[in-house]
Subunit: 282 residues, 4 copies
């Protein structure tokens, strides 16, 4: 198992090219946030924007949009009902993050199924939160599992994989991942990442992170990093690892001065922390 240290970050967070524009850094779509969990998709989108994604569109409950625009005018927003605009947005997306605060209602599953069925070869999907629960109950075939990231915590992974918590050994997890062919980010107090090539272990993180919204924020960073740094499959793998690393690294820095680290504060520290790890920067 490869240990994820901060030395790996500069290899991913490369200087931006002088000749580039917002389209160069990924069109990311974040889907979730029914009214009860509206905050989840807001935190996801905030992390995605602050991680440097070029263009972020949120698909959410119409009631969530005012709070989203109030906190994050940088994000565009569609309601779940805007079917036509949704089709356009999905078709042109480089990365789709689905699940934060999506809920487990029938409509949520319909939307998840739509996203899975329309995945294109070059499109990355990040499946998080409620979406994992939905898939545990209603398995769906993945069209391009090699471009799909699943980010369960251990309980969600139990439901999805059928592996009880005690059975979640590295060997068993890797076996399950291999069968699926996806990238598995298995969140715990020591997150492991299983890819089609390798296994990785996060070396950062602390219990001040144990608060609601932490996973939504990680999903947003993964989306943002895939949009910017995931040009080849190997680069995408490194980008996912870097997202996990920087999320916990910032939390460790903040926990030096705070008993609890709020997810939105991690998001706010992304631009400065990424800058520190960017090599040869002006």
């Amino acid at each position: 198992m490869i240990l994820l240290t901060k030395e790996s970050l500069p290899k991913v967070i490369v200087p931006r090219k002088a000749k580039s524009h917002k389209g160069s850094y990924g069109r990311v779509v974040c889907i979730g946030g029914i009214r009860q969990y509206g905050g989840a998709i807001i935190m996801c989108a905030q992390a995605c924007v602050k991680s440097g994604a070029g263009l972020v569109t949120v698909v959410t409950d119409v009631a969530t949009i005012p709070a989203l625009h109030s906190r994050l005018p940088e994000a565009m927003a569609l309601s779940f009902q805007d079917q036509e605009a949704l089709q356009n947005v999905l078709a042109t997306a480089d990365v789709i993050v689905i699940g934060p605060g999506l809920g487990v209602e029938k409509e949520a599953f319909q939307l998840l199924k739509l996203v899975l069925q329309q995945q294109t070869k070059d499109q990355w999907l990040v499946i998080d939160g409620s979406a994992i629960t939905l898939l545990a109950d209603h398995p769906v075939d993945f069209l391009f599992p090699e471009h799909l990231v699943l980010t369960p915590h251990q309980k969600e992974w139990e439901r999805f994989s059928g592996l009880a918590l005690k059975e979640q050994t590295i060997r068993a997890n890797w076996h399950a991942q291999k069968k699926l062919g996806i990238t598995l980010v298995l969140k715990s107090e020591q997150t492991h990442i299983y890819t089609n090539h390798e296994q990785y272990q996060n070396t950062f993180g602390n219990p001040a992170m144990a608060t609601g919204g932490m996973g939504d924020t990680l999903a947003g960073i993964i989306g943002g990093f895939l949009g910017q740094f995931g040009h080849t499959d190997l680069q995408a793998e490194a980008a996912i690892c870097a997202a996990v690393t920087i999320h916990s690294f910032i939390a460790d820095e903040l926990a030096k001065d705070a008993y609890v680290v709020l997810p939105t504060e991690i998001a706010n520290h992304l631009p400065q922390t990424m800058r520190k790890f960017c090599p040869f920067a002006r």
Copy 2:
């Protein structure tokens, strides 16, 4: 009467265990905030989240949710009308804070009665603000008074206990508390706490705190501290005392540089102040 000094804080605010997750730090439900008083439940929830509660759900007027999510995406939200989801949330709660901005309408009383009737043996209730006024007018039996905190200011206590302001001596208050069997946090310029075992006196606090929302914020901290630190009844008692102490301690620190201390600023200083009082911290 035991004086509450800052020496007691490190005994409560213990380091978090490495192996823990958000569920380890309490599911807290905050109920209140009709449209007129929407800010009250927002301040309560903000204090609760920033005090480190693992998962915070707000039950409130549907009109209050956009402002809540705009300020505090970390909180989940139900409207008063979401009866089914409400039942689920109440059943799984470790702590319920009811009252900030709840109002005194009939619907408010129905909700309060429901919460009191469904209290489970292991669940803590914090009854604050309008909920105290409601109980003064419509007495309800408490199922588990040993797990119930009442947080009146002196006027509310007068209405609830029948003790006129002048009659509110330590002896009379303790007598009233003993009959009820609850924990009484009697707020004044020198807050007293009466429990089934002991009496405590706050040694912090200042008149810069005399502004709307201060009590809502305290209720949120009590909820958050019970959720994290109230594993045994004695630990819960210490947690309530620590919540009162840190609330006033932060206000005293802020009042060195401010003529008026806003409740939301106290909440914002919780993570850093708790960190300072946490012993053996990394």
Copy 3:
């Protein structure tokens, strides 16, 4: 004409009494903010809360409440339609600020008339913005002019008093004020205050303040200062002068580093600045 210097501030901004509560610092009601001008009443209320008013209630368009609670959960809120609650709030108010963003529609005038007709002997009214324009067009008798502050800028004063800009000499203004018996805060690049006893001239202020919302913020500070410091008529006069002074004093401080000074930034600096001018403070 007495020059308003910062030496006058410590006489007004006295230390708070140890034995006091939020009711000791004034119940202030801020009325205004139709949808188009919702920001005006938000800025007014923000200044009022941050100046230390004990309890602030905003009466506004129902559409303005989410933004208000998002920025300022410390304020309570009623919609213009909440007639019953409005009556209660008006009856118990120590100070009523009416006008910021109120508009000049018929409903606005009805509300203004109601407030003027129900003014009680001990209640201060601050008439600002659109409310002045309404009174210029529809004169109403003042029940207690000695407890009424009018805060026009020069154009509004022209409309209200009939004095053309060129005719607005000190002598003419004082003559007009004397006939009305009110306190006149005549805003310009050098604000003058005319009371039943004296004339005052602001010595602070700068053109970086020439931006929308400055007057709404001043009205809120006047309301907050009257609620806290206006116990006698002479103290009220000093409080009004202090509000004008500190508003411009903070703006001058901020303008050292900013080309334009936003009204909300002045409000945010009130607690710290008031603390600096408070004598014998702990």
Copy 4:
């Protein structure tokens, strides 16, 4: 081609006159922000207010107003449906910025046509974002092209001018600009400005700016600078150049410490940065 350096800024950002009021610094109307793109007009208005415009009114989707007032109470707001108020606001505007998040629906075009048809001789129009796309598809005659700024990025310019990206040479662009008689701000990694007198080249800017909302923010600054500094046509030309310069200059400063520079952060730094470049300031 004249290089835009920071030396040009103090010539534009002159000290404000002591005798002045908010009306002296421009009435700017910002039009855009259908629900999906509500954030765009919020960012535009935020930049406009923070650049020092005297009075800013936003015309937008009714659903966008709560988020606008929550972030920026300094701005006034009309919904697209407030036809009567809209007529008043347009008639008294010094500068109209139309396009950020306006969308390309029929109603958007109707509004754009209205604005173009009612332009008065002394009124400046800034046409940005979706409005440029609309004009590319439905050409409309300009009444006063000498008071019109078009701010396309290269793709939008391609659609509008018919010049493919490769054909967009300085000569060809200037030729197209001359035919139109407008001021062309052609955005790219090295923005060029073509006026009826001259060509300018931005010397600041960096790829950390490649994120959604950057153009909306620039449009707001141009609007604010025209409102304050555009008294003569030559001054207006210098003001447009200064807006482009300061927008990129701030971004360069921020990029020293941040991997991605968010548009709202640029807006927040306007008052301080403008102050630094203001000569002879107190």
